[in-house]
């Protein structure tokens, strides 16, 4: 367990890289299972998704930005605070309401999504490390 706790940041980075690579490669290689996988967690509206080579990504702009923000935060070890996470959550919710009522901007959606993913990443890393370090899985099983 101690090894996994120590390797948690690297494992999370590898997982995030695989996740983001799947999103980018799916339209290029016409990977239908990847679209079906992400259909469980995203509306996949092509009008609200980035496109590659004219084909929409398997997730929307907001989801893409969150995942890439998460990955970039892990890659560059961007620090975060609880306040930053709360601000990012509020900004995302505010953008959601603004998009529904006043002004729908893909770039505003991308910015808030990037911020949310980037601020949450360090806390997820810490949570995974603490969980593995205490050997919770071993005790439960």
């Amino acid at each position: 367990m101690k090894f996994y706790a120590a390797a948690a940041p690297a494992l999370l980075l590898a997982g995030a890289l695989l996740w983001c690579a799947g999103i980018v490669l799916a339209p290029l290689l016409n990977l239908r299972p990847v679209y079906e996988f992400f259909a469980l967690i995203c509306h996949q509206d092509p009008n609200r998704s980035f496109t590659i080579a004219g084909t929409p990504l398997p997730v929307c702009i907001r989801c893409t930005s969150i995942y890439f923000g998460f990955f970039l935060s892990l890659l560059f070890s961007i620090p975060s605070t609880p306040r930053a996470v709360k601000v990012a959550i509020v900004a995302t919710l505010a953008e959601f309401v603004i998009a529904l009522t006043v002004w729908d901007s893909p770039w505003l959606r991308a910015t808030t999504g990037l911020a949310l993913g980037a601020t949450v990443a360090p806390f997820v890393t810490t949570g995974v490390q603490q969980m593995l370090r205490r050997g919770e899985f071993r005790d439960a099983v």
Binding site: E36, I41, Q44, T55, P56, E136
Partner: protein
């Protein structure tokens, strides 16, 4: 307990009588109880099951499950619910991000089982409702040129009455991965919100590879 001098009733473990001031003999005092032990361990199973049932059911019911398209709302909520139930066990205890993560993972794993089991009768039901309308759905898609390629295949598959072991297995494995990850994030975010001040971790250390 009664005072041996004046007979007034006294609280247990009183050292002097409040009425006459007489000292209570030491043998009258109740022996001190055992020193307080460490706080009891948290039970993760029950909150995990409750959170999992919540997210599994809501992620299976048609129309309601569409909320999962909003950043996996029900899954995050399931992880959050498991963490709040965990907090309720010992309200004074400051939970760590690891506690929230584990509660979230458990709720996600159980929720995946519930959602997959619920998806089978839901699929049968939707087959009866939409099976006869597949031709009209195809005609509708013909009028939407932006929906093409893998997107079109996905729409047709969702509307298809086909149920197979492969489909169920794919759904189950996908749910296991997605629900456990997102419910874990929900648990961690809940800890972040619950621990307002003096939390066990004010600021996470910078990410460092291979550092315990």
């Amino acid at each position: 307990m009664q005072c041996k001098q004046c007979g007034e009733s006294l609280p247990e473990n009183a050292r002097f009588c409040f009425h006459c001031g007489a000292q209570v003999p030491e043998e009258s005092l109740e022996p001190a109880g055992p020193p307080p032990g460490p706080p009891p361990d948290l039970d993760f199973v029950q909150p995990g099951l409750s959170g999992g049932l919540f997210l599994g059911l809501l992620s299976s019911i048609p129309i309601i499950s569409a909320a999962n398209c909003l950043c996996c709302m029900w899954v995050l909520a399931g992880g959050s619910m498991a963490t709040m139930l965990l907090k309720k066990q010992q309200p004074r205890r400051i939970l760590t991000y690891g506690d929230g993560a584990f509660a979230g993972v458990l709720s996600g794993l159980f929720g995946a089982i519930v959602a997959t089991m619920m998806s089978i009768p839901m699929k049968i039901l939707s087959a009866r409702l939409f099976g006869s309308q597949q031709e009209s759905i195809e005609n509708m898609l013909k009028g939407m040129p932006e929906v093409e390629g893998p997107m079109r295949d996905l729409v047709m598959r969702v509307m298809s009455p086909e149920i197979s072991v492969t489909t169920v297995l794919f759904t189950f494995i996908s749910n296991l991965i997605i629900y456990s990850l997102f419910a874990m994030v929900g648990g961690i975010l809940t800890i972040l919100i619950l621990n307002k001040k003096g939390g066990s971790l004010q600021q996470p250390p910078p990410n460092q590879f291979f550092k315990a």
